[in-house]
Each structure stands twice: as C-alpha cells, then as structure tokens.
Symmetry: C2
Subunit: 435 residues, 2 copies
C-alpha cells in the first residue's frame, strides 16, 4: 500500500484530535484512504509544551517552511483560527502546491472568494466541512448528496454555545449571565463569547451554507442578525406556555424566488425536530424540491467531532474526491449568483411580541390599534395577573402577543410606534415564529 | 460544456421521477455534474403507455441492446425491482462497460458480493445510495463523511411502511389490519406488504448498512428479525404509559468488540429523536468513536425523494467520485470482515414483557419467581383493574413488566418457561427497550 504524506498546521484542541486520529488510527484510515496517511509535519508556535499524545521525533516544528518546501506533502490540514496571518499562510500553502483542509469558517467567510480563486488558479482545492456544524457533514451533504435539488430552505442551529446557554436558561431557569458563566466553565464558550452570542458566528456559517445551497454571495456582515445576548428567561417561559421553544436560528430560504437570510432567536413549535436540539448540539433542516425535508443533528463542536470532519475531508482530498467537487462547483467563483436577494421587509411571518406596559385601562387597546393599522392581526394574547402586589401606584406588567402572519416591515414599524407610547416602559421584544 | 450520455432502465414510479429531473432540470444538474447530462435511452417493457412527462422522440425503447451497444452511454440508472432478470441485466450492463446506479436493495442484499466483484473485474462501479432510506443520503455519509470513525452503533427506522402503520395504530388507535389497509390506500404499502411488515425489507437494508459501517458480510436472511405484523394496539398504549413509543428498529452495534444485528419492534424512550419519527419517514442514528452521535431524518421512499438520491449518485458517477469510493472501499470484496459476529443470546438489554394471565392470586409471584431464577430483575409493573366485569369466573388480565438490563438468552428462556404456566393464557409479548 502506498503512503501519502500530509501535514498539520496548528495543534490546538482540534489539531490534537486530528493528530490523534492520524497517529493512532492509521490502519483504520488506510481503508477509506486507499493508502497510508503519514503525518510528516506538525507546525505549531509552541514546540516545547508537553502534548497529550506521543508525537514521533522530528515531526513537531515551529517552521512552516518545512512544510512549504517539502514536495512529498500533498495535503495540509490548516487549523489555526483567526484572519491574519492565517490568510497569508493559506495562500503560501496553496502556492507551494498543497491542497488544504480547514475548519476556519471566519477566514472563509471573510476571504472565501480570494482564497478559492487563488486555489483554482494554482490547481489546488480547499475542503472545509469542519468549518460549519462540527461533526455534522452538512457541506458534503449540500455539495454532493443533495445535488439534484433546488434547495428551498435551510434552517440551522449553527452556534452550539448559544444553544447551550439557551438550554441552561430554559431547563434551569438560569439568567443569561449565569448561563454564559456555566458555558465558559464547561468549555462551551470562550472568555469573550461575543461572536457566539451576538449571532456573528452563526452568520459566518450561514454565509457559507447559503453560498453552497443557493449560490448566494453574501458577506456575513450583511446578514441581518440578532443574537441571544438580550434574551430573557421570561420570554423562554412565555414561549413554553404558548407551546414553543426559543432557538437561535440561522435561516436561508427562497421567498417568491428571492433569497431571504437572517440569524435570530426564533420561537420553534415544540415537537419540530429543531425545537428538540439540546445542549451544545447543532442541527440543520434542509428542504429540497425533490427530496423534501431532510434533517441532520449532531455535535456542533468539540475536539473529536470536529477532528472527525477534518479527517474525512483529508481522506476526500487524498483520494481525489475533493478535487472533483471543487472543480465542478466553482465555489466563490465569479459566476453570477443563482438567486437574487429578497427585500426582507416584505417577508411574511408570525411574530412573538412582548411589551412591558403600565397596568391600567386602555393600554391593550392602544397597542392592538397600532398593530391593526399595520394590518397585523393577533392570534393570541397572554396577560397574567401580576404575581405580587407592587407598592407603586402604577404597576408594570408584561403583555405577550402572538400575531398571525405579518409583513416584517409592518411589524418593525408597529413596534417602533408602540415603543413611543407613554404606557410602554421598556424596549419591546419581537421574535420570529416557526410553526 | 461537454455532454455525457446516460440511460435509464425501468420507468416505474422512481424511474419517472429520475427522467423528470434529467429531462426538465438539465441546467440545474449541469452545475454539480460539470457537464450536460443527456438521457439518451429509457428502456421499459411498456413503450405504449402514456407517460406524465414529455419524452423526446426515439428515447423510449423496450430494447436493452440499444443501451448495451451504445458506447456513448457511460452510466446507467437501473431501476427495475426484483432479483431476476435484474441480476442478469446488471451483469450485462457492467460487462458492456456501463457504470451502474441502482435503488434495488433486494438485489444487492441477495447478490452484492457477486455484483460488486463483477463490477471490479470490469473496472466499473455501482452506486446505491437510493437503495437504503430513500432521500436520506446514509450511504455516502457512512462511506465518505464518517470515514474517520469506527462506527460503534447504528440504529435505524428503515421501513417507512411499518412506521406509517405504527403511527396509524398509535395516533388513531387503529387495529393492525385497518392500519395496513390505510397504508395501502395511501400508497405506502404494496398489495402484498409481507416483506415490509415482517422485517425482511429492513433486514435487507441493514445488511447493506452493516457492511458499510462494520465491514460485516451477513446475509439478510441470517439477521434475527421480528416484524410488526403481530403488534397490538394494547402494547402501544402500555408503552406510552411507561414513557415510550414502539418503533421497528434495525440495529447493528458493537458489543464488546463483536457485532450484534437485529430488526425488531422496540420501545424507544419518548424524547429520543428516533421516537419522534412519524408517518412514512426514515431515520438513522449513528454513533462513531470520534464524531459521537449523528442523526439523520427524512423521507424513506417516494418518487422524488428516491429520484433525488438516484440523480445525486448519477452525478457522483459521472464526475468520477463514485469510481474513487468504489475502488478504495472494496465493498463486498473477499476482504475478511473487520469485526466478528456476537453471540446474540449474551447481549444485555432491558425488556418490555406483557403476559395475559388469569386474574387470581399467586400469578405475579409465579412469573416474578421464574424471572428471578434467570436473574432478571423487575424495574416496573403495570396491572390495571379490568375495565369491565367479565361473566367468566376467571378473568384474563394483562400484566406488563419492564425489566432492568438482562441477558437476551435468559429473557428468552424465562418467557418459554412462563408460557408453560397454566395461568398464562396467550403467547407472551417480549420487546427490547431503548433508553
């Protein structure tokens, strides 16, 4: 059996998992790879640190040139996060004739067109199934398994950190801050979790999926997004009372032939598979015009799940499948987008609204009046008696309204107007609803 | 853009769906295929029948030789069901240099080793993602996306007909016979549904999945299987009362390094994704040692879902991915199985037991005594008061017992002995439990 030399750049958590599979499961991997995979170089800035696995002598180095100048190395797993110098490293690797496997979604979301174009010009490929949804092979499923379909909609829970935090808030009644702290303690959130909780991470992943599924070329920065950082336990409770769970959904869907994309906390009807996704898991529900609805669920991050995706990509690269897919799909090429972007203010949907209002007569009438002017009709209302008597003469109580299907622009206008009412005491909450 | 000629043999329901995609969605398919796919021949015994789509003149024929002798045709979609003459047709097609795409799981389960070996000898490939779980791309996911993993367990709802029948019984309280009739009326069951409801269809699919996931070479006939044809509404009700749903599960899993396979109605704890699979859908839960648990859900059959899988396979074949996968995986080759078969009598698991017993003192003690002798301990018991007074002096009442984990051999022995008791009036029911 032949041997193929590969290299690994970046030996953090996932890199260590990848090295473990390559060094310890060589026999197993040789079967689907049709050859022995030899991990010839591991490049990491820190060569002194002790590692939790035995690395053969001479493999670990802090010198990228050893990879660049080694013509035996055909494929490189690039697992450093961030934008620079990662972009430059990737360009150098491609230029020196290496095919790339990466999990760096931020880099692809930021510089995808440049990197893919550069790879094409150098006759190389970039595989990136590990960049989105960790262990769920959603990239291969979209690029290959569902290739006979026009994708109609794609809805995903793509940020495991946010899902873990929501699960903590929902199941234990934890406040947002405490749930974040617990996520950090358990290793599901970074010291600065901003990109995870403000929807940016999900938007980066969605921009990649939307390109694969719809040929869209949208910068993740242009994807309308709301995170979970202002989510309140009260809304999780009201949602539950109405028969829903709140999830941070990333959505790309065709609306009258145009593409709508957004990331936002969304009420998902209990019983729908997406509503049942717990802890740090990810899930994606895809509707294709031929296949119908297909649903994928699995670990969205973590050392070995992500390493599983990376090594599958590495095998695809070594055996030649990636090269074929990369060539035919022409990802991030100058091809025109296959679908136009849609005007999101015209998108129809149901809304969950929560207002904090003075508990006195006429308030509901005022709010309902404004909604009516915008042609938004009310499906249900929750207003409970306050749990305890307040000392103040005017009590503030929550008023929860679930609408029938309404135009997003109208919903936004109505809320703007309602928030100007004197009897409305806080910025109102508006979330989409998925039935 | 180049043109690649393909042919279709068998234009039944799925074949019509495949023809529709190839004839009507040419532009869409040319992107992932990197070429135009030209459907040059459609072979069907019935060339006179009117078809629900426009077939270009000269394409429809009842003469297979037109395909065999056309060296322009590189890949053939073979969609006739059954074993012969389908086996002979497939051998002829391979011999004449055509790569094959098929959905015929029965043929693969029966003659896989011969067909794959023959294809290898002629330098051809066989793609078969549509043969298992319809629109769910489980074959590609196992053969390619999860290739870095040792699969530890695979549990699937692989027969949509059975799942539809169980759903009808569970949700509408329909008796088995009425649910079968409804499935037939809705087109989910054939006139003779035996292979579906007795577990044979699921066993055929499981034999294919077990080969991919574990390298096992098991004839589907050797897979222990129980169907749903003796399932009673009462058991669905008791299961629900205990917090479970009953599903026809196909299971292949490693038990202490050996492979256990079976198909049987199983109590699945409510809330587990497999328990939520409704109607004629399929689902598969796969655990890999690196990735953890990944779950796939989608339509298990139907014209367009199956056509989606067939056309994806056709594209994989035309672009060259299938050839690579086929070569590296050496499916059904003479390679030794990677895992030994396990002695299923030693497999541990929980059981649901239902006995129909005389309603008089001492019966529970007798049954519990026999279970105790076999070291089977009881987790819970349901015995309700009979709903109505019976006229007979001895009433027969159901006694439901959920056991703790027990050895399958012991459970079988205990039931054999219990069924000999005079106070036990019917053959007892025993089902596995999945927590």
């Amino acid at each position: 059996m032949e041997t193929t030399c590969v290299a690994l750049v970046g030996m953090g958590t996932v890199g260590t998992g990848v090295a473990r599979l390559l060094l310890e499961q060589g026999d197993r991997l040789s079967r689907p790879a049709g050859c022995r995979l030899r991990l010839k170089h591991i490049v990491d800035v820190d060569v002194a640190r002790s590692r939790p696995l035995a690395i053969p002598p001479g493999v670990l180095t802090n010198d990228l040139d050893r990879v660049l100048n080694d013509s035996e190395v055909k494929a490189v797993v690039q697992l450093i996060g961030g934008i620079e110098p990662e972009r430059t490293i990737m360009l150098k690797l491609l230029e020196s004739g290496k095919d790339i496997v990466t999990a760096n979604k931020a880099l692809l979301a930021e510089h995808g067109p440049e990197l893919f174009d550069f790879a094409r010009r150098h006759g190389r490929s970039i595989a990136f199934d590990a960049a989105v949804a960790g262990g769920i092979p959603i990239i291969t499923n979209l690029a290959q398994c569902l290739s006979a379909n026009q994708i109609l909609s794609l809805r995903g829970i793509l940020n495991g950190t946010s899902n873990f935090i929501i699960s903590q808030m929902e199941e234990r009644g934890a406040e947002y801050g405490d749930a974040v702290a617990e996520a950090q303690r358990r290793g599901f959130a970074e010291a600065n979790p901003a990109m995870d909780v403000n929807g940016s991470d999900a938007a980066q992943k969605l921009s990649i999926l939307a390109h694969l599924a719809f040929g869209a070329q949208i910068s993740w920065r242009d994807i309308p997004r709301v995170g979970i950082d202002e989510l309140q336990v009260a809304d999780l409770r009201y949602a539950r009372e109405l028969g829903y769970r709140i999830k941070l959904l990333a959505v790309a869907q065709l609306v009258e032939g145009a593409l709508e994309v957004h990331v936002s906390p969304t009420l998902v009807r209990s019983g729908l598979p997406l509503s049942e996704v717990r802890e740090a898991n990810n899930a994606i529900s895809v509707v294709g015009d031929a296949v119908g609805r297909v649903f994928f669920h699995g670990p969205g991050a973590g050392q070995m799940p992500t390493a599983s995706a990376v090594v599958a990509d590495l095998i695809d690269t070594v055996v030649g499948r990636t090269r074929i897919t990369f060539r035919t799909l022409e990802l991030w090429s100058s091809r025109a987008p296959r679908v136009p972007a849609c005007d999101h203010t015209r998108v129809m949907g149901r809304y969950y609204l929560r207002f904090m209002v003075d508990d006195h007569p006429g308030v509901l009438a005022d709010i309902a009046g404004i909604l009516g002017q915008q042609k938004i009709s009310i499906a249900s209302v929750i207003q409970h008696e306050p749990e305890e008597e307040s000392a103040s003469p005017t009590r503030v109580v929550p008023l929860v309204i679930m609408t029938h299907s309404a135009n997003e622009g109208a919903a936004a206008s109505a809320l703007k107007e309602i928030d100007k009412l004197q009897s409305v005491r806080e910025k109102s909450v508006r979330m989409r609803v998925l039935d």
